[in-house]
């Protein structure tokens, strides 16, 4: 079975982000880039399905500028067989829907049995692309999955999706779209052999025209980015524990009116 894993390259959480001169994007100078953590769960799950079945192919896919090759290379080092890089200036202003259209285009061409995503990317936290791809393809979709089992015949997948108050286990006919929640697995670290091997694996560039897509104007766009309004300075309550606890409860009631 062929499995496509869609990944996004994002700034490392610990990286300082600064607003760029245009006021609408971030200054990318000095940023450390990583594969979005939820996407690593998706890559790991794809590799496990392939290993369990003893055959198949795992293809990592990402949309973005040149630097995204590095993220795709990390997926290859983890064990993906090849990668596809959606690289086209026409996608520079891509919003989630334009991204979903591009990814749906690739998925249609590649015709995998399963399309795996992370539940959201940790840069814009929009969390929409997986479900949008499913809608555009007309495929069943389960989001925030914490369990997965493809049946032996490769005709269906059983997934546990996290919902408020519980876990719903569904069977979906393949092909299907699923998005990974934390708890699905523990992603592996690339081995040295994996890292060396990744250099020889293929990363294919794909342009919008190759998919027969002419990107549309974004349906949602950033007006501006802002820094957080400063929080009023906090107060450390001094004194020994009993007095401090008493004073904290009084402050929460009388000053903050939080209880």
């Amino acid at each position: 079975m062929k499995i496509l894993v869609m990944i996004k390259q994002v700034p490392d959480t610990a990286t300082q982000v600064k607003i760029a001169a245009d006021g609408r994007s971030i200054d990318t100078a000095g940023i450390t880039w990583i594969v979005s953590p939820y996407d690593e769960f998706a890559v790991e799950e794809a590799l496990r399905i392939k290993e369990k079945r003893g055959q198949g192919e795992v293809v990592a896919v990402s949309l973005g500028p040149d630097r995204v090759k590095e993220a795709l290379r990390s997926c290859l080092a983890m064990g993906a067989d090849r990668a596809i890089h959606l690289l086209d200036p026409a996608w520079e202003a891509a919003d989630t829907l334009a991204t979903a259209r591009a990814l749906a285009g690739v998925i249609k061409q590649e015709a995998p049995g399963l399309a795996l995503f992370g539940r959201q990317a940790i840069d814009d936290d929009m969390g929409a692309v997986a479900a949008q791809v499913a809608e555009l393809l007309g495929w069943p979709c389960a989001s925030w999955i914490m369990e997965e089992a493809v049946d032996d015949g490769g005709k269906a997948v059983r997934v546990g999706r996290q919902v408020e108050g519980g876990l719903e286990v569904f069977e979906l006919p393949l092909p299907a779209v699923v998005s990974a929640q934390k708890g699905l697995n523990e992603p592996r670290y690339p081995t040295l052999k994996g890292i060396m091997g990744a250099k020889k694996k293929e990363i294919k560039d794909v342009k919008a025209a190759d998919l027969g897509i002419s990107p549309e104007a974004p349906a949602l766009s950033v007006v501006k980015l802002e820094t957080l309004p400063p929080r009023p300075p906090g107060r450390i309550i001094p004194g020994e524990a009993a007095a401090a606890a008493k004073e904290l409860v009084r402050s929460l009631r009388e000053d903050a009116k939080a209880i």
Binding site: P37, D125, V129, A131, S143, F170, A219, L248
Partner: protein, 329 residues
Amino acid sequence: MAGAFWCMVEDDRQGNPKKVMAEVLGEATRLVGQQGGQVEAVWLTDKATPDGLKALGELGAKRIWLFEGPVYAPYRGEVWTPVIAELAAKESPQAIFAPVTTRQRELMARLAARLGAGLSADSTGLALEDGKLVATRPVYAGKLLSKMTWAGAPWLATLRPNVFRPAEPQAGATAQVERPAATAPAESMKLIERREESATGLPELAEAEIVVSGGRGLKGPENFVILEDLAKVVGAAVGASRAAVDAGWRPHRFQIGQTGRTISPKLYMGFGISGAIQHLAGMRTSKVICAVNKDPEAPIFKIADYGIVGDLFEVAPLLAAEFKKLLEK
């Protein structure tokens, strides 16, 4: 009707809208007051109770589009999306809002793709500027705020719980209930089972007004009982940091932060939590933040409104006793 602000109903699976709907309907009502149009609820469910319908009316819905039938439970995007999209094509709503829950996040994304519309997910602010809706969303682990706007209607947005001011119920206000004919598409997803989480007797993390949260400083899973005792006194949910979850002390559903839940309670109390960026991403929009930590240099004190530098094993039970005294008054 054209120009309406739709609110997707999240229910408790027993036929009643969840508490968070007061916030969604309240925000829609506030915006409609500036823009014109009316607030309407859209409810897909296997069961809507008369009380549930009444509650939506009292919270500001003038009309309820009700799709009721066994096919609508449990939620499946492939069933719900075409039904709502068909109604939207007929009715041309100006906006479609929903609370942030796992299924509404997926549904609204699918709906946006089907309608070719923009979606602002997990919004923490909405405002009309020159007749256009502008959403505020935290991005980059909550380090920046992004203001976003739509190229055209309908404006789709999901709203973070506990951020928007809830509607005050107006006794006697009623909504007109419409049951449009709809053919739900054949479903391909089959429900095998639903596993309920063991009931804690405490509120749900995402909706709780007060959250008590523990980190590495708790030293072990057995010590969370200290926080549970405090939570019971004030009616709080209990959360945990990534460190505590990764150590296996709490199940992942209790994790607050970047790879867990994003919460915005009225009061957040962190115990033995240092305040790594990953954690702050999930709780920094809380209204009042207090922290108890032995380390006076813990980063959480930088965003805390109140802090106690001390031993949580000593302070937490004292706080529980003080809250008890206060609330028994």
